[in-house]
Symmetry: C2
Subunit: 347 residues, 2 copies
Amino acid sequence: MTTLCKPATFYPEHLANADDIMTVIEICHPDSPYKQRAFEMIQNTEVKNRHLILPLTEVVKLGDFGARAARYKDAAIDMAETVAREAIDNAKLDKAEIDMVIATSCTGFMMPSLTAHLINRLDLPNETKQIPIAQLGCVAGASAIGRAFEYCQNRTNSNVLIVCVETSSLCFHKEANRLQDFISDALFADGAAAVVMRGDSQVPGLKLINNQSVTIKDTMPYIEYDITHQGFKFSLDKEVMHSIPHVAPYLQSFCRRSLSRDANQVDSTIFHTGGKRILDELVRCLSLEPEMVARSRACLAETGNTSSVAVIDVLKRTFDSARRGDASLLAAFGPGFTSEMSVGVWH
Amino acid sequence: MTTLCKPATFYPEHLANADDIMTVIEICHPDSPYKQRAFEMIQNTEVKNRHLILPLTEVVKLGDFGARAARYKDAAIDMAETVAREAIDNAKLDKAEIDMVIATSCTGFMMPSLTAHLINRLDLPNETKQIPIAQLGCVAGASAIGRAFEYCQNRTNSNVLIVCVETSSLCFHKEANRLQDFISDALFADGAAAVVMRGDSQVPGLKLINNQSVTIKDTMPYIEYDITHQGFKFSLDKEVMHSIPHVAPYLQSFCRRSLSRDANQVDSTIFHTGGKRILDELVRCLSLEPEMVARSRACLAETGNTSSVAVIDVLKRTFDSARRGDASLLAAFGPGFTSEMSVGVWH
């Protein structure tokens, strides 16, 4: 009887819209042959705003991996603590009742992990189990939900704190000048989200029924990191646009098996906001009513693609409109090409 | 009825002994005030040999994080595949019977993760769940065992593949000249290990009974990574030498609670080979017979500290001498300061 409680989100203060990032590209790459094409594509992303931990004027001056890691550590721990506290409150739990903390964050690196920092900052029990996840990119938020579900399934007294933190701005590479680099610069953004999974159903929320992971073979280059002296750098192959048709049959059969209904017959979807095309493809491949991805589109417009954070944000948006008994399909997509999916019923 | 099956290990071909690393320090830091002290300490480490993926002459020429990451990716995937295949064979399983793959590796970074690469290389089922862990350092091997145990506990038909891969040589920083840097250069080493946890007890092995995580608060600086344009760099505080007295009471009470006996009454210990002092302290704090850490000492002497790999190596060494009914305490220690412990009975 595991329950996803009400999530918390946090977005940092600095804002960047499409015009801002086009100005940056104009200044850094005035002679790029991809500039006009990039501008057209950026205006088509449906991203209205992105939140960043630094103003863009600082982002373009970021130094090497060491300097970025220092910025990352400060920002990530603070944001993580903020959302974690609120998520624990939302779950009507005391910090002493947390058994496990899963932290997902692919846009920076620290050791000891964010999970150890959270145990210290929140004064969680010394016996708290840790799963820090860095390499699952945009699928990591849904992956954390899957792992928490498997942990709580037969442990009704257990509670898992999930914290997702991303600082995509720290992966900005000023000299990167491929078309896909310009798109990444305009798409990815910063933020944090947290949610507690309770092993019981003592509070309202999304009671999970089933979950599944799917990794499609021979699709490794769809989403990769290039690694440089400046650290991690997004690398999106245009083939990623064709990823959803691989995954859709799994989503469909997963819904049928778990809920005895088609994906387009669930009451709401909670999809990671990978980008406009990903959402368009989900609508097309699963024959969804366009309204079913409205919350994901709103999340994309207001915050960009915040990687592992986004799916928890969309879960939060779903809380207010969900009615008891509604069934939801939650899914995210990331490097591998990997998809993580869960279904649950609101109570 | 979860069972740790017989592990597989792999060590790369290049060797470095204490003399070799002292020569490197002599050449790179001829005027260091710490040189003589470092040489005394290095001769006292009890590390006779270390295996590296590159000859030391190449290690000292390593470039920035990008160049290291490229080396890492090639070496890590190949080593991981080698040990994973052998571990699956040892478990008398077909690849199609693997449900989850946990990969631990803190000495390099790639996205998609090693777990996704293993799903492709080994042709594991598309539905294989992934837990890639980078930030748990030396405790990660035992942490993977803990997470696999929790997953398999109520899933007797499930099997988890655990793969640990480390390329510590790729974290060598030529210009690093603190005393602790010289000790790290002489202690950490490369290697890979894999083990399958079966949800049943159809093959001989260590049947796990219980597990626990412990993170000691306010000990974060004991083991950290400095992050530079060259990537990850070990940073050991000398306080880490005083870490075991914090953890020993947890190990003791964990043994009493799980096995109704003291830690020094188990039949064998399977300890991560952190270093000579860590093993000495375990003997002292838990009143162990010195012979009880002999396998960990042998692992340290023959392979150095291979971070997450070492505890799986010591588990493998324990396989040959374990008798049915013997009880073992398995534990490792890493950044946080975090310890992961399990107990089991051989069958």
